[in-house]
Every structure is written in C-alpha cells, then in structure tokens.
C-alpha cells in the first residue's frame, strides 16, 4: 500500500482537442487526478477512451490543448527526464541494431552515468527481469515476452521517478501475460517504483493495481476512482477467485459498460 501521499504525477483539467480543417474531435474532456509516490495506478477505459492520448500527454509526446500536468513538481512541456515509458509495440521500441545490453545502456549513456555504474545498472535490471543470459543477443532473437521484459529492464535501469506502461502485455499470449503481470508486481514491490499502467483489460487492472481509474468514452473524464483493497500479496491462483476481487471487478466492469452506453445514448 502506498503510504506516501506526495503526488509524483498531477493532472489537472487536462483537455485535448484534435483540430483539423473539417473536423474537431475532443479526445479528452476534463481529466483531473493525482498519482502518489510508490503507488501502482491502473487506468482502464473502453476502447476509444483516449487512453493513448492521455498517455502521450503524460509522457510529453503530445501537448495538451489546455490544463496542466506536473511530474515530480515540474510542468510537462516535453518528455520528462524522470519518466520511463514502456510501449505496447515491444518489437518497435527496441533498437534492432543494438544488443539487449546496448539497448538498456543507451539511455544511461545519455544520462552521463559512468561506465562501471552503467554496467552494474544493466546487470541488475537484467537480473530483476530474469534475463541475465541474453545480454549479448539482439532483441529480434528473443520471444515477444522476452522482448517486453527487455523494454521493462531498460525502464528499470533508467531509475525513473515514475514508470508509465501503455497496454504493455496486449500483444503476448495468455500464459506469458500472467508471468509478466507477476513480474511487474514483484518489480513494483522490490524496487519501490511508481507505476501508471494503462490497459483495456479489467481483470488485469484489478489484479495489478492499488487503485483503478475508470475513464469514460471520449471526451474523456474520470468515471470512477476505485481503491483496490485486496489484502496481502497477489497471486494468479488465488487473488482472482477472492470475493473482493469479484466485487471490485464488477464495479469496474459496470463503470465501463456505463461509459459505453453513454456513447450510444
């Protein structure tokens, strides 16, 4: 549980409008929420809920139309140095001409971290994601799940204030997905990370999060803010069959159904 109440990420009245000559699309209506240090926040919403737009605004890749985003107290005007982003398309976010080690090391070189320290950080990150044997391989020689672990290792080694993941496990098979979910939980508890995890999968959100933010359809608002009060460590075998899990899952599910209905209505 997050005991620290300091907001690492603070979003206030975020609004994003895509304006072209013929069309004006309001992707994000009015979003306000804080993410506390050490928290694991999952963001779910129906497809077309502007999740990707929100993520791009958060990571400074897209400028909001109005409203403000603070990361670690600084207004986001470009990609914040304190943030690491893990993309869904693992195959396109690793440099195919660099080995696994070089991929993880490159952002550290940009941070001007000394060589021996870099080597230590890379080794630790690979150990954390259980990939010590493949440092010299190229990403494309690895399976999809392993590639996404490399991308996570790169984010871990970067030592960010906050790690943002955009539907990171949407493209891997179910078994790998369960393994990666548990890996994320382990990293979060061992490394004291702050995580924002965007997903369209309700079960995944409830299983992973300390808190689930339910978004409405576009123009996006926060529909519900659900604290996930499931005690004790999560486990694929037992957590998903707990009555409390089912209750929370139902609450989030209803929220999303309501969001979908409001579009058609």
């Amino acid at each position: 549980m997050a005991m620290n109440a300091v907001a690492v990420v603070s979003v206030s009245h975020l609004n994003k409008v895509y304006q072209s000559r013929e069309r004006r699309v309001e992707a994000i209506g009015d979003l306000t929420f804080d993410v506390a240090a050490g928290d694991f926040t999952c963001i779910v919403g129906p497809s077309g809920a502007g999740k990707t737009t929100l993520l791009k605004c958060l990571s400074g890749l897209l400028a909001p139309t109005s409203g403000a985003i603070l990361v670690n107290g600084h207004a986001v005007v470009g990609p914040p140095a304190e943030m690491a982003v893990v993309f869904q398309e693992y195959g396109r976010s690793l440099f195919p001409w660099k080995t696994v080690r070089e991929n993880i090391e490159l952002p550290l070189r940009e941070k001007k971290i000394a060589r021996t320290e870099r080597a230590r950080l890379v080794d630790e990150a690979l150990e954390a994601v259980a990939l010590t044997g493949v440092a010299g391989s190229y990403p494309w020689q690895l399976s999809g799940g392993m590639q996404q672990r490399v991308a996570i290792a790169r984010a871990v080694a970067y030592q960010p204030k906050v790690m943002v993941l955009d539907e990171p496990f949407a493209a891997v098979d179910a078994q790998t997905r369960a393994d990666l979910e548990d890996l994320m939980l382990r990293l979060w508890s061992e490394l004291d990370l702050t995580v924002i995890f965007v997903t369209h999968d309700i079960d995944e959100a409830v299983y992973l999060g300390q808190r689930v933010l339910v978004l409405s359809s576009s123009p996006t608002r926060v529909l519900d803010d659900v604290p996930i009060d499931i005690a004790g460590p999560r486990s694929q075998a037992t957590t998903r069959v707990e009555p409390r899990f089912a209750e929370l899952r139902t609450r989030v599910y209803r929220g999303i159904q309501q969001a979908k209905a409001s579009v058609h209505g």
């Binding site: 943030m83 660099k98 940009e110």
Partner: protein, 262 residues
C-alpha cells in the same frame, strides 16, 4: 561448422557451372575464328595475360580504380550528408525537391563537356563526373530511409532524452542504413559506368582510355582483353561490396533471415 562449409562449397559449385560452361563454349567456338573482329578467345587471353597482369595493371587499372574510389567516396559522403537533413525535415525536402529532380534528370555523360570546360581533362573532371552520377541513388535512398524511421522508436528516443548527435548515430543513421546501402550499391555500378565513359572521352590512362586506343589502332584482341578486364574489375568490386554489406548490416540480415524462416 563442417555443414556450413560444405553448404558454401556446394553453392559455389552451382554458381561456377554456368560461367565455366560459357567460357569453355566460347573457347571452343572461337578457336578457329578467322573473323578479324572476333579473334579466338585463346588469343584474347594471351593478350590479357601480357597486358593486364603486366605493366598495364599499374598504368591503367590502378588509375581507374583511384578515380572511382575518390568519386564514389565523395558521392557516398555527400549523398548521406545532404540526404539526412532532407529526410528529417519535410519543409526542407519540399524546398529542395524540384531542384533535385532537375539535376537527377540530366544524364551525367552530358555533363562531361561542361566539366571539361570547368576542370580540364585531368582527374578532377573524371572524379566530378563519377560524383554527379553516383550521388543520386545514394541521396534519394538516404532521404527515403531517414523518412521511413519507425515512429515508436522515435518516441522511445524522445522519452529517453536521446537527442541531437546521439539520436543521429544511434537511431537515424542505423535505421536508414539498409536503404542507404541499397543506394550505395546502385551508385557503385553507375560510378563504374561513368568512370569508363569519362576515360573514353578524355584520358591517356585508365581502362576506358586503353580500350578506345586499342580499338582505334585496330588491336582487336587487345581491345577484347580490355573489355574482359573491365568485367572482372566490376565483378571484383561487387564482391567486395557484398562483403562490406554483410558485415555492416549484420543485424538487418539476421533479422530478415529469421522472419523468412518463421
């Protein structure tokens, strides 16, 4: 290891069958030739041995090679240096496109008289002709390669603060490199053609000049031996280029071969 060596030998054997058969056929058919313009291949080979494996290698082949390497190196460098910013910035590309299209449309041999006026009959002119022809495929492929960079990798660079020269070296150039190499391969064959043409136009040394001189003095076997030398010259260069390509784009071929197998 043994298996791969065996496989290479097997492939080499297959590749050698046709050249050797043609060579043997030509040797046999031309053996009793009395046609002045098509002397027996054996005579051509004898002249080849005397000329090109002798002093002519230093006086003609090496100067040709020198001009080609100089012109080609300049074309590669300039093509990439100009192509990268054009690929990165759409506004720049739009501004430069009409001019580039115009210059690309001029057949380089047509520039020889102009370049002779500007640079005389010396090596500078020949190198310049090679550059004006070989640069286009390299430049245009660089533009395309840089333009086609992956958007997710670009966002990865941005979120990890990979900017400026580091972005250029670690992202832009490697991601465009397969396409740049395609341009360089086309540029090399254009470079060889222009090397010969420029030497035929105005030179006293070089492969092109030698072939023209032999032809004008009706030394037909010598002329044919020059053509043979030129063929081997181009073949050797393309082998060297393939070795370079395989080394420089190891990651690319590895990735592609894996995709093909799956």
């Amino acid at each position: 290891m043994v298996r791969t060596t065996g496989k290479i030998l097997h492939r080499l054997a297959i590749e050698l069958v046709l050249p050797l058969a043609l060579f043997g056929l030509l040797l046999a058919v031309s053996a009793n030739s009395t046609n002045f313009y098509f002397p027996p291949l054996a005579r051509v080979l004898e002249r080849f041995d005397a000329l090109w494996l002798g002093p002519r290698f230093v006086t003609d082949v090496l100067p040709s090679l020198g001009r080609l390497i100089a012109g080609y190196a300049i074309a590669c460098l300039a093509g990439v240096v100009i192509g990268v910013p054009l690929g990165m910035f759409a506004a720049l590309r739009r501004a430069a496109e009409p001019v580039l299209e115009f210059f690309r449309a001029i057949p380089p041999p047509a520039l020889i008289p102009v370049l002779v006026m500007l640079a005389g009959f010396g090596d500078t002119m020949k190198v310049a002709v090679i550059v004006t022809g070989a640069i286009w495929p390299i430049l245009l492929n660089t533009v395309e390669g840089v333009k086609g960079a992956d958007s997710v990798l670009d966002e990865t660079c941005r979120t990890y603060q990979i900017r400026g020269m580091s972005r250029l070296w670690n992202f832009v150039l490697p991601s465009a490199s397969p396409q740049i190499v395609v341009g360089m391969r086309v540029g090399l064959s254009i470079g060889i053609i222009l090397m010969v043409i420029s030497e035929m136009f105005a030179a006293t040394t070089g492969l092109g000049a030698a072939i023209i001189v032999f032809q004008r003095s009706f030394e037909i076997p010598e002329m044919w031996s020059g053509v043979l030398m030129l063929g081997l010259f181009g073949f050797a260069l393309s082998v060297v280029f393939r070795l370079f390509e395989r080394r420089a784009l190891k990651w690319y071929y590895g990735m592609r071969d894996l995709e093909r197998r799956s």
